[in-house]
Subunit: 200 residues, 2 copies
């Protein structure tokens, strides 16, 4: 049985939950509260030396970290990850885009707005996060003018990865009404078989 060590409020962890539900794979979820230091205990660091969630335990003692690496591993052989080398490269392009150009702005803005006090000094970062996050959303809007999902091969893990924080971007102060194609795509993702909403 697969075990996911994750935190329900984290979009990176929700990616793994959403994929497992859509694949119909049974799994055990162990809730880890990183805000309470549970990713920094000696026991947790022995499983993931980088001290982050999500973490997948595929069998006793075999661990895989990094949400998007977990998506690739679990989706292998399913229609959610194409076999063709070029199509797969496009999926990976969007997964790296998500972790480098999207998540560090859109997820971090959400974290600051939702979980830090109103007078916290990190609020000073918000203008820069909003500027960079808007750039990422503009790249997404442009891609969705070409095709209904991020990969040519159709709905798959690139959409799951990008859905995780885009659907909650308003929590971080982003106004999604300026991105009609993103809104239509969010609805297409929600209409996929096995879709589950994030429980926050």
């Amino acid at each position: 049985m697969l075990t996911v060590y994750g935190m329900k409020s984290s979009g990176n962890c929700y990616k793994v939950q959403l994929l497992l539900e859509q694949l119909g794979r049974p799994y055990r979820w162990v809730e880890i509260d990183s805000a309470a230091g549970e990713t920094r205990t000696p026991q947790y660091l022995a499983m993931n030396p980088n001290g982050k969630v999500p973490l997948l335990e595929v069998e006793a003692g075999r661990y895989l970290a990094e949400s998007n690496a977990i998506l690739c591993y679990l989706a292998e052989g399913s229609p959610l990850l194409p076999q063709d080398t070029w199509q797969r490269a496009q999926v990976l392009q969007w997964l790296f885009f998500e972790q480098y150009s999207h998540e560090p702005y859109i997820a971090v803005a959400r974290f600051i707005c939702r979980w830090l006090p109103a007078d916290h000094p990190r609020r000073a970062d918000l203008p820069r996060l909003h500027e960079r996050g808007a750039q990422a959303l503009a790249v997404m809007e442009r891609q969705l003018a070409q095709q209904p999902f991020f990969a040519e091969s159709g709905y798959g893990i690139a959409d799951i990865a990008l859905f995780a924080y885009t659907h909650a971007a308003a929590d971080g102060g982003f106004d999604l009404s300026a991105y009609p194609r993103i809104n239509a795509w969010l609805d297409r993702v929600r209409a996929q078989p096995g879709f589950v909403a994030q429980q926050v």
Copy 2:
């Protein structure tokens, strides 16, 4: 013929150069000066809407962005990327670690120290970049206590991705003498067939 749009001083671009040299694949290199705005021209944005280097043109009009996606695409079928699903997942884990937990600190510190003036306000970011970068180096040092290269399968694209900025970490003010296993690994990478040093 493959075309790489890249900037020689960028570690992300050097990754692609190093892999192509090690694979013995012919390619054309088009130098792009992002500091001079060459990644923000309408022509460049038509090729890569995210406005970054490196960019791989695999044939006329077919482009792939994101350095680590390019590594996966080019290494497919070679000994530098294993076929086995679990081993491949481990490689991807390290590629995502590099882009999320390593490059944003170690590459950015190098950029600030080498290319911004001594009185630039972004120098105030350096203590935080050094703290987070040191965490990434500690994770690497720990992994290299287990095995000689980052993936179980031996030398490959996870090493290429992590070498790109680790070998130049001193440029950003990191003291690598505290990481003896990383230093020994850097030497093992330099000893690989087809290795070329970064020309900066």
